[in-house]
Symmetry: C2
Subunit: 267 residues, 2 copies
């Protein structure tokens, strides 16, 4: 692995890229995962690689909905586990919900590999100090997070084949799903089942972004950090009405103003 100096203006992005390349070598990712990551890099670059004001509104709304939800679940794919598995575990611990590994290109080997990586990440998260604002016993709470996906026993209606498989205890019964980096077809199927779908997607023009109940246009690990902070801050309430089109338009506006400015560090 190449050492990236701390002074590099895009260090965090380059470290994320290394995680994806290594995960691919370890067989944890589908073919298209690296290409999807590259697309994300370009969109994040155009956001200035920061959480924008409009993403912060969506983060706050999402935290509020996850706090209030019946049977929430966090659905993760390979890229999410590699880039932000620890963040998912912290969120699941604070919300008290399961994490389900759910892959569009499902193979038993990849699901097992990602569950095993989540178990490793859980050990590291359990040893951390509890996040500020968390009341309770951190180590036990983290260890109590249920990891699902190894034995799918349910189907997402409206989809065919392996991509429809899920678990009843997780996505099956969930009324609210936090699902970063989701495929458009599956997002649509989940919305059609009247589930509340919170998507994290760097492309504000994607079908998932357009179809979700709440779309956080942000990099997944930054979004998870933001949701965690909002969950643990009693002042961070949601909004009476949520206009998802507004945050998508704002994301596009911020991208186009940054692109016309062009003073960002070079890719």
């Amino acid at each position: 692995m190449v050492e990236i100096p701390d002074s590099h203006p895009r260090k965090r992005s380059l470290l994320s890229r290394q995680k994806i390349v290594e995960g691919s070598h370890r067989g944890l990712l589908a073919d298209s995962a690296m290409i999807a990551h590259g697309r994300g890099e370009a969109f994040d670059y155009m956001l200035g690689e920061r959480t924008t004001d409009s993403a912060r509104l969506a983060i706050r709304e999402s935290a509020s909905r996850l706090r209030a939800a019946n049977n929430p679940v966090i659905s993760v794919n390979g890229n999410t586990v590699l880039l932000a598995g620890k963040g998912a575990l912290r969120l699941a611990a604070v919300i008290g919900c399961p994490i389900e590994v759910n892959l569009y290109y499902r193979t038993p080997e990849r699901v097992a590999g990602l569950l095993s990586l989540l178990e490793d990440q859980r050990k590291a998260v359990a040893e951390e100090e509890a996040p500020i604002g968390f009341e309770g016993e951190w180590l036990g709470t983290v260890n109590a997070v249920t990891l699902l996906g190894g034995s799918p026993d349910f189907r997402i209606q409206g989809l065919e084949g392996p991509r429809s498989h899920c678990t009843e205890k997780g996505i099956g019964v969930a009324e609210t799903i936090l699902v970063p980096l989701e495929d458009g077809d599956r997002c649509e199927a989940l919305v059609n089942l009247d589930k509340e779908v919170i998507v994290i997607d760097l492309n504000p023009l994607s079908r998932s972004s357009k179809m979700a109940t709440v779309t956080i246009v942000d990099e997944v690990s930054r979004a998870f950090d933001g949701i965690l902070a909002a969950l643990l801050d009693p002042d961070e309430m949601g909004y009476d009405e949520w206009d998802n089109d507004f945050v998508l338009k704002e994301a596009l506006r911020e991208m186009s103003s940054l692109v016309s400015d062009s003073s960002t560090p070079t890719l």
Copy 2:
């Protein structure tokens, strides 16, 4: 391979993606190649997946410079050969210049694999009808294109290690280099050697884009098609003065106006 219906609005982009995935399976690409392709997809998406007016200016200028050049060469990497190797061969035949396989992450296996793929592509191109406007014997001209890169015997000054290797007959003596998808460091080194560097790069903010003599902000196979047509059209002359910053600013302006419009098909 998945069949993509002709009606799909993004069929050409999806076919390009398949070529990159297959090339990666065949060991022709470095780790970062799929991620780079994904970044390109996102930038091209924001260009509307079409050759913009400002890219057309740069294509015309490039054709004019390649026509007038002493010892031009086309430098290709793995992504270029997979996405547009036939286009490179057509250009080399019309210009009468060599193609050099030159990789940032050079391994003898990848160079040999790409040269072998170019030989296959050459057979197909030689059997095509000559492009409109071409005068001469097409099959013999295509078969006469020299393919370099297998035995590097020269170095690009200002670079260290394997990425500095090249051939004397190709990049070594060339005064004009057409180099799609180039790394920023190498572009800088070539410019510092007082070579005329024509870059094809979808990211108008990249270091290569900013440093090149002429930057074509366009997808590589569309750019090659455009240069070929311009080379063969006697009315397509270059410009008395070339302002490369202008085309980069125009590309950014077109991206930001498309992004604020957002009526493009979804990714």
